[in-house]
Symmetry: C2
Subunit: 419 residues, 2 copies
C-alpha cells in the first residue's frame, strides 16, 4: 500500500504519524472551547464537529460535538466506514470542498481522554514477558503457568484510573514486603515500572449470555491505542497471590490521545506465531490476528536534554490476538460494552532490548540499564518521563499513534501522616 | 432500639423486613410505567417520585424520577439524612400528610437494578472461607496466603454482569481441566456455585491521587445489598493462577433490589474480630466496623415444593470491614466513583452449616449435602433456585434486605457448535 496524498501538505511527509491513510479519532479542545471530536492530518487538527455541523461529514446522527467518542462508536461499523470514506474524499489532494474552517495547528490543541472507558481488562499475551516475569516471581521451573498456552489469560483492571497521555502519575503508597523482611511496611513504591502495551477498544456491544466467535469479535473492535499500564512491582509482588494484581496497578494507566481505527491498520495484518499447543476451537481465527506495528519506549530523566530509547519491540510479538482475547472474555456469557478497553499485555520481544518493562530490562534490578546521560536505571525515579511510540510502516509513509507519555511525581503523604 | 411505629400497619409486624426503621431504597416499575425510585414499608411500595413531585420529600434537586439511584446518591450524605428524616416523619403512626397516592402493593412492583454499577470489586475477607478454599485449592499448608492477615485482599470484578435479584443465570461454558486430565476441554461448567456476600455501595466519590483514612471511607458508604457472586469452580481453578479469577466469575453477580442504608444499620454495629497480627496504621478504624446481620441461603430444586436452608451465618464473621476495604482500595491513589460496588467476600462462619458456598458446604464435592427432599447436592444443578436472605434483628422488629434470588438455567451452545 502507498501513501494517499492529501490537500494538507504536512500529511504527505514520510515522517508524520498522520497521513490520509491514518485518520485516527480523538477528543480535543482549544483555549475557551469545549472538548469535541477530531482527527489529525500532518500538523493540523481537524475539528469534526465543524464538518458535521453543515453536513460535510455525516455519521447518521450528530455525534462529534460530544466530549467523548462513545456516541460515534455506538453508531456502528457502517457509520465508521462511511465517515472514514467521507474524510478521505474531503481531504484528498485537489478535493474542492472548503475545509480551512475546520483546521487548526495541532500544537494549540489540548487532547482529552478519547472515550469514556466502560471497563478495563488487561491481558498477558506475550510469551516472552510471561516467561520473564514468571522466572523472576516464581522461579524458572514455574515460569510459564500451565494454562498459558491454552487460555488468553486476563484480569479485570480499574477503569477509573485510565488517563490520557500527558497526565502526571503520582508514585503510589502501599504495602511492600521484601523477601527478607519479616512483615510488610507502608510507604512509596520502590519498584515503579511501565508496561508497554496496546489497547483494543470495543465499539459494538454484546448482550449478557451471548458468546461470540473470534471472527465475530474482530468486527466489534473499533480501534487501538498505545497503553502504558504503570505498575508498582513491590506492591504487586506482595499482594497478587491468590486473586491477582490490585493496588499495584490501580494508580494510573495512560493511553494515547488518538484511536487508530481497525480500518487504518488493515494493510499491516500479520499472523500470530505458530501454536505450541493446539487451541480449543472457540479460539480459532480466520484472519491474521496481529499487526506489524513498531513500538518503542523512551525514558527522559528530569532535567535531561533528551530521552534514551530503552526498548524497541513490535506488536506482532504476541501469542494471542485482541479478537481472541475478546472472544475469550465473552465466552462464559459476559456482556461487552461500547468503550471496553482491552490491554494486550506487556509486549516483549525475544532480545533484551525488546522487553516491554523495566522489570525485564533491568532483570529485576540486578542489571541496571545505562541511559545516554550516563545515569543508570533499575526502576523509574521521580521526575522521569516515560514515552511510548508506535507506528505501522508503509512504503514511504507511516500510520502512527503519536506519543503516550507520562511523568512520575513523588508520592504524597497520606492523611494518616507521613508515609 | 425499638420499633418505630408506622401509619402503614403491615410495617409494624415483627416478621416484616421493612419497618419504618429500615426505609431502604430501590428502583421499581408497574405495568406500563417507567422505572423510578421507591422505598418500602411492610407490604406497600412507596413511590418516591410521587412524593417528590409536590415537595413532600426533597433531596435538594429532583432525583427520584430517574431509573437509577445514582442521582440521589450524588446529592451526598446530608441529602440522604434529610430524606430519611422526611420519610420517617411522613410515615410515622398518626402523621397527618396524605400519602395514599404514593402507595401500591409490593406484590405488583417489578424491581430493577437499583443503581448503575460504576465498577465492581470483590474482596476475600472471611478467614474461615479463605482457609477452606485455600485448603482445597492449594493444600492445608498453603491455605492462608501470607499476605492475608495484613491486606484486605480484593480484585476487580466485572460490572456488566451485575444483575438484580430474580434474573435467571445461564450456566457458563468455559475451559475446564481436572487434576487428572492432560489437557483442558471446553463445555458447561460442572462445578457451579454461589458465594454468599454483602455489597457496600460507594455514594461519595474520591478524586484520583487522594487516599483516604478508614474513618473517611466509612462516611462515603451509602448502603448495603445482599450479593451472590455466582462462581464456576472448575473454570476458576484452571484459570486463576497467576492473575486471579476472570471467566469463573464473569457470567453473573446478583444483588438484592433493596439498598439498606448505613443509617438503618447503625444500631447493629459490632466490632471486627481480634487482630491476629497488628495491621498497618492506614487500616485503623475508630467505629466498630461490622454489623450483626443474620444471613441464610436457601436451595430449591426445580419442581420441589419448598427450599432447604443450606447455610446460616452472619455478616460479623468477617475479618475486615467494608470501610477498611474501601480505604485499602483508594490508598494507592485509585479514584472511587458513585456506584462502585464492593463485595465483602464470601461469608463463612466456623461451623460447617455456616459456610457461604457449596464448595465449602460439600467440601469440594466429597461430602454432598442432603436436601429436605432427600436429594443431594455437591454443586448447583440446572433448575435450582438459590436465595440469600439477611436481616439485622432488633427488639420485636427486623431490618431486612428482602430476598436475593436467582435460578440456574442450562448452558447454551456457543456459535462454534455444540458445547
Amino acid at each position: 500500500m502507498t501513501l494517499l496524498k492529501s490537500r494538507v501538505e504536512s500529511a504527505n511527509t514520510p515522517d508524520t504519524d498522520f497521513p490520509l491513510n491514518n485518520l485516527p479519532f480523538g477528543i480535543f479542545s482549544t483555549e475557551g472551547t469545549a472538548p469535541r471530536a477530531a482527527t489529525v492530518l500532518g500538523d493540523r487538527i481537524v475539528d469534526l464537529a465543524v464538518l458535521e455541523a453543515d453536513g460535510r461529514i455525516d455519521a447518521g446522527a450528530p455525534v462529534f460535538a460530544a466530549g467523548e467518542l462513545n456516541p460515534f462508536m455506538e453508531r456502528g461499523p457502517a457509520a465508521w466506514a462511511a465517515v472514514r470514506a467521507q474524510l478521505q474524499a474531503l481531504f484528498a489532494e485537489g478535493a474542492p470542498t472548503p475545509v480551512d474552517d475546520a483546521l487548526s495547528p495541532l500544537a494549540i490543541a489540548r487532547m482529552h481522554l478519547p472515550f469514556r472507558v466502560a471497563e478495563y481488562t488487561d491481558f498477558y499475551a506475550s510469551k516472552r514477558h510471561a516467561m520473564n516475569v514468571g522466572t523472576m516471581f516464581r522461579g524458572a521451573e514455574n515460569a510459564l503457568p500451565p494454562n498459558w498456552l491454552h487460555i488468553p489469560i486476563g484480569y479485570n483492571g480499574r477503569a477509573s484510573s485510565v488517563v490520557v497521555s500527558g497526565t502526571d502519575i503520582l508514585r503510589p503508597n502501599g504495602q511492600r514486603k521484601g523477601p527478607d523482611e519479616e512483615v510488610p511496611s507502608f510507604g512509596p513504591s520502590r519498584r515503579m515500572d511501565i508496561e508497554l502495551e496496546m489497547g483494543a477498544i470495543v465499539g459494538v456491544p454484546t448482550p449478557m449470555g451471548k458468546p461470540i466467535t473470534v471472527d465475530e469479535a474482530e468486527e466489534l473492535i473499533f480501534g487501538y491505542v498505545l497503553l502504558n499500564d504503570w505498575s508498582s512491582r513491590d506492591i504487586q509482588a506482595w499482594e497478587y497471590a491468590p486473586l491477582g494484581p490490585f493496588q499495584g496497578k490501580a494508580f494510573g494507566t495512560s493511553i494515547s490521545p488518538w484511536v487508530v481505527t481497525r480500518a487504518a491498520l488493515e494493510p499491516f495484518r500479520v499472523p500470530v506465531p505458530p501454536r505450541e499447543k493446539p487451541l480449543l476451537p472457540y479460539l480459532d481465527q480466520t484472519l491474521p490476528g496481529l499487526y506489524d506495528i513498531a513500538l518503542e519506549v523512551g525514558l527522559q530523566p528530569e532535567g535531561a536534554a533528551a530521552e534514551t530509547i530503552v526498548s524497541r519491540t513490535n506488536y506482532r510479538n504476541l501469542y494471542y490476538s485482541a479478537a481472541q482475547q475478546l472472544a475469550h472474555h465473552a465466552v462464559g456469557g459476559c456482556g461487552m460494552r461500547v468503550g471496553d478497553l482491552l490491554g494486550s499485555g506487556t509486549i516483549s520481544g525475544e532480545e533484551k532490548g525488546s522487553f516491554g518493562s523495566l522489570l525485564e530490562l533491568s532483570w529485576g534490578g540486578k542489571e541496571p540499564i545505562t541511559l545516554d546521560t550516563g545515569e543508570t536505571r533499575s526502576f523509574i525515579e521521580d521526575g522521569d518521563r516515560l514515552t511510548l511510540r508506535g507506528a505501522a510502516l508503509g512504503e514511504g509513509f507511516r500510520v502512527g499513534f503519536g506519543a503516550c507519555t507520562g511523568r512520575i511525581l513523588p508520592a504524597v503523604p497520606g492523611p494518616w501522616g507521613d508515609a
